[in-house]
């Protein structure tokens, strides 16, 4: 049996097209694995068509003569207030969010406390990842709004949570978890020997913190800050729910497109939003890479030195518990509210909300969203790791561009993809009279616009898979793949049998991230929903607008439950990460 295999191996050229004269004439072309070519072509096509083109279309639309007065209007008083608001919101949310993230990470790594308390704090800190970003905003209105249960009923105050204060509160709490996870990873990776060296040289605890710990974490803190800034800039859901008169670029842009059908103004605002987002995002990436380099001083030995002073401990733990309590209060409100007729007004317990959402007019949104996100998840996860593989292991020119193009999927605010898709795919794309891509958005779109939403889900999630996959591939000795190839496995087999199992933890976290991100996405898809396709996040927004908070809460709870269930199912399907890590013997964990 194997002799035939050897005969093939020993008979070079047999069955290969283009062997002989023609091949010799073409010169020293590298023998390419067909699977790699296919993967490359598909990835590049996706990045160009689904990501780059819509963004360029928006820029193109804003670079027309008619756009100049609009630029002028939004760059000079009084309309430049929107720009100012946007930047102020970004800076404030990023500052508060990074501080919370640092507090939580520091408590986990450096503050001695009950193990269970720490676990509970950790889980609470991760909650916002699996819920729609503006779920907290709705709860905040119920609790702290004009007729808030706490502010008005309990304290008798007349405060207005709408605007900057409310947005700061809910956006910091919604966005800090990502920075928290990465900061915690960095802190764990810091070599305790550095602290010990400083102490050995005579530094006091506080001095070590100031002169060693913080400087080493600075790139990580900077990267977290910048990431939160971009997220705050891009967010649409919270400003719509809780913005009030505090208009920011994304909410103004939404009104321009959906309320006024003014694509030109929309595009101009999109470009105003795009420029700072892109700059800050890629500065963030720079710091993120620096941070991971800094932390790798070798294998950390010993335990990180812990905060021993009682007052300091109590203060740190107290602060973390306070924030955690606030998060729990907000989520508790969502859960209670979902079983209540109208929170703050009529506290009769009811299942009506769930009935409406699950078996009434909400059914379609639940199934549509779950289906599309479920479809997008494996596609985005696979696309992400395939591109990671091409970028890290490939040796073709333009790898950097492929990486960059894919990362645009998260660097560019979702609203801009929304407009871009409307600009590009609202008519069939034709070449020489042939329809290459049918109409994907608006009325009479292919599959009611489902394909456009699917593409957006994929492009927003693939970058997560790319980064996780790339980080974990970089830890794997390339000879392992070469060994597989030299044993006779082609690239596709090697990818399936060697690469994927080795990066399984990263792949799994990529899938989970993908699904959670798709389920909770709003800023791009809100432009793409049609009467035929309903999306849960948009329904939540509608219900909130109509002050049907009960339904909105029920949607939120169901959405969170679906995400949690998916995490469970994925973990079982892909295999638990702990097992993969233990058995692999190499450090393939990228997502810690």
């Amino acid at each position: 049996m194997d002799t035939s295999a050897l005969a093939t191996a020993g008979g070079p050229g047999t069955g290969l097209p283009g062997d002989g004269q023609e091949a010799a004439a073409r010169g020293r072309r590298r023998a390419l694995d067909p699977a790699v070519v296919v993967a490359l072509v598909l990835s590049v096509a996706f990045v160009l068509i689904a990501i780059v083109w819509p963004v360029l279309a928006v820029i193109g639309a804003a670079l027309t003569d008619g756009a100049i007065p609009i630029f002028q209007r939004y760059l000079s008083p009084p309309q430049n207030q929107i720009l100012v608001n946007t930047v102020v919101l970004g800076v404030v949310v990023a500052t508060v969010g990074t501080a919370i993230a640092f507090l939580f990470a520091f408590v986990q790594v450096r503050v001695p406390a009950n193990r269970w308390l720490k676990r509970v704090l950790h889980v609470i800190a991760l909650l916002p990842i699996v819920s729609p970003p503006f779920a907290l905003a709705i709860a905040a209105i119920s609790l702290f709004g004009r007729s808030g249960m706490i502010t008005r009923d309990l304290l008798g105050m007349r405060v207005d949570i709408y605007g900057l204060p409310g947005l700061t509160l809910v956006m910091s709490l919604s966005f800090f978890p990502v920075a928290y996870v990465s900061l915690m990873g960095l802190m764990r990776a810091l070599d305790p020997a550095l602290d010990e060296a400083a102490a050995n040289l005579g530094s006091s605890k506080l001095r070590i913190f100031r002169t060693v710990t913080v400087p080493l974490l600075l790139p990580g803190l900077a990267s977290g800050f910048l990431l939160l800034f971009v997220e705050a800039l891009a967010d649409l859901g919270n400003p719509l729910v809780l913005g009030g008169n505090f208009t920011v670029l994304s909410s103004r842009l939404y009104i321009a497109i959906i309320g006024q059908y003014d694509m030109l103004t929309g595009s101009v605002l999109a470009v105003l939003l795009l420029v700072p987002s892109l700059i800050v995002y890629f500065v963030h990436r720079y710091y993120a890479e620096r941070a991971s380099v800094v932390s790798v001083t070798g294998k950390p030995t010993g335990r990180p030195s812990e905060v021993s002073g009682r007052p300091a401990r109590a203060m740190l733990l107290g602060a973390a518990c306070l924030v955690a309590g606030l998060i729990v209060l907000l989520y508790g409100t969502i859960v209670v509210g979902s079983f209540t007729k109208l929170l703050g007004v009529d506290h009769t317990l009811t299942l009506r909300n769930y009935e409406a959402v699950l078996f009434g007019y909400g059914t379609k949104a639940v199934t549509d969203t779950t289906l599309l996100a479920g479809l997008a998840t494996p596609l985005a996860g696979l696309l992400g790791v395939v591109i990671a593989f091409l970028v890290i292991r490939g040796r073709f020119p333009g790898r950097g561009a492929l990486d960059f193009g894919t990362m645009l999927g998260v660097a560019v605010p979702g609203t801009i993809f929304g407009i871009g898709y409307l600009l590009v795919f609202n008519v069939p794309v034709q070449i020489a009279g042939f329809t290459i891509i049918p109409k994907l958005t608006g009325g009479a779109a292919l599959l009611g616009g489902a394909l456009a939403i699917l593409l957006v889900y994929i492009l927003r999630s693939a970058p997560g898979g790319l980064r996780a996959g790339a980080a974990s591939l970089q830890q794997i000795d390339p000879s392992i793949e070469e060994a597989s190839i030299s044993l006779g496995a082609d690239q596709a087999t090697t990818f399936r049998k060697v690469v994927l199992p080795l990066i399984r933890p990263a792949f799994l976290s990529g899938l989970i991230y993908s699904f959670a991100r798709s389920m909770t996405a709003i800023s791009a898809v809100i432009f793409l929903t049609t009467p035929q396709i309903r999306i849960m996040t948009q329904q939540i927004l509608n219900e909130t607008d109509a002050a049907r908070y009960g339904n909105a809460y029920a949607y939120c709870v169901i959405l969170i439950l679906i995400v949690l269930a998916a995490i469970g199912i994925l973990s079982v399907l892909v295999g638990s990460s702990t097992r993969a890590e233990r058995t692999s013997g190499v450090n393939v964990g990228a997502s810690r």
């Binding site: 295999a5 020993g10 290969l16 091949a23 030299s486 049998k497 080795l502």
Partner: protein
């Protein structure tokens, strides 16, 4: 299974650095590997050994030149179609698979299943003396055991050519010696054509049928270990293999048995390559064992001595020339101390005059190399 004939024809590899500079890693290499031969690529770090091996395996594409397996150009074959087993410096075992599954990996890809598969894997594991470890994970093995698994895995596919990239360099000295004789035994047993990269000259000597000495991307010399040691083609080869000093002297006569060269005023008949003419200057390779210490017509100053037990190594100076010498007979004659003058003689039959043409060639080449390094 049959052993393959491998031929490299004027193979050149130019890398482009990220800054856009060209690095000539392999420069016009021509080699012929007869079936069943064990060939080592030997040379200092960065001389292009790994690159040559990787081009044979298919992981790099030659910039120019052809690689032929059994007279067929394999340029257009992807590495997985080449049927070459490779053993890596880092072992490169699949960490998520057991020892058995590691070895079975390539065999399965050839369509072998069931009992045949078990037998093939067991035979391969038996060949490398690994019994009873089939269920373990690579992380549960010692370095030596891991490298044995890697060897078994590469051999289990019954490759036409076996490739080794410094497979022993991560192991301790003792294990290296025992494993290298095992590699040689297995290779002879199977008769697989093998290419073995190392920068350890004793490893190369011990293992090979043919040693290929490389320098700055070029083949300096290819030949049997004894030939490369006895008749080095260039200063570089003589220096790299064993230790050598070089003495220059005028050629007084050319005879079929060798050259008559005047060294320190004494005429010595030395073995030599072709091409010497009377009156030319010859460069003579002096190895420590070709100097007899204790009697002879040359008076040398002892500059240093190292006591090695059975031998004493001296550093000697005559005029301004410094060379090393070994004294195996120190017990009967006693030790010499630095500052002492001792009579020495050069043993003509153990000397070798470098071929003249290669000498100038090497000089030109040497400047070539510095250019590459400098730019």
């Amino acid at each position: 299974m049959s052993a393959g004939t491998l031929r490299l024809e004027r193979v050149t590899k130019v890398f482009q650095t990220p800054e856009g500079r060209d690095v000539v890693a392999v420069d016009d290499v021509t080699l012929e590997l007869p079936p069943g031969s064990f060939v080592t690529l030997l040379g200092p770090s960065g001389c292009g050994k790994t690159t040559t091996l990787r081009m044979i395996a298919g992981f790099e594409t030659p910039t120019r030149g052809r690689i032929l397996l059994d007279e067929r150009d394999i340029a257009r074959l992807t590495p997985d179609k080449r049927g070459m087993g490779m053993v890596f410096q880092s072992y490169a075992l699949f960490p998520h698979l057991s020892v058995f599954e590691n070895v079975a990996y390539g065999v399965r890809l050839r369509g072998v299943r069931g009992r045949d598969l078990d037998q093939r894997v067991e035979a391969a594991l038996a060949l490398v003396n690994l019994h009873g470890l089939a269920r373990r994970r690579p992380s549960e093995l010692s370095g030596g055991q891991q490298q044995r698994v890697a060897l078994a895995r590469a051999m289990a596919i019954e490759p036409r050519v076996l490739l080794f990239d410094e497979p022993l360099s991560n192991l301790d000295a003792k294990l290296r010696v025992s494993l290298r004789s095992e590699i040689r035994r297995i290779q002879q047993q199977l008769g697989t054509t093998s290419v073995y990269v190392t920068h350890d000259q004793s490893e190369a000597m011990a293992l090979s049928d043919i040693v290929v000495v490389m320098n700055a991307g070029r083949v300096e010399q290819a030949g049997s270990p004894s030939e490369v040691y006895r008749r080095p083609r260039s200063r570089f080869v003589a220096d790299f293999i064993g230790s050598a000093d070089f003495l220059d002297g005028p050629v007084l006569g050319v005879t079929p048995e060798g050259l008559d060269v005047s060294l320190f005023g004494v005429t010595v008949r030395v073995a030599a390559g072709d091409g010497h003419r009377v009156g030319d200057a010859a460069t003579v390779v002096v190895r420590p064992e070709s100097v007899r210490v204790g009697d002879g017509p040359i008076r040398a100053l002892v500059r240093g001595s190292t006591f090695l037990g059975s031998l004493v190594e001296y550093e000697l100076m005559v005029g301004d020339q410094v060379f090393g010498a070994l004294d195996p007979d120190w017990m009967s004659r006693g030790l010499h101390v630095p500052g002492e003058e001792v009579p020495v003689s050069l043993i003509g039959s153990k000397l070798y005059a470098l071929p003249p043409d290669v000498r100038s060639d090497t000089a030109a080449h040497a400047s070539d190399t510095t250019e590459v390094a400098a730019d």
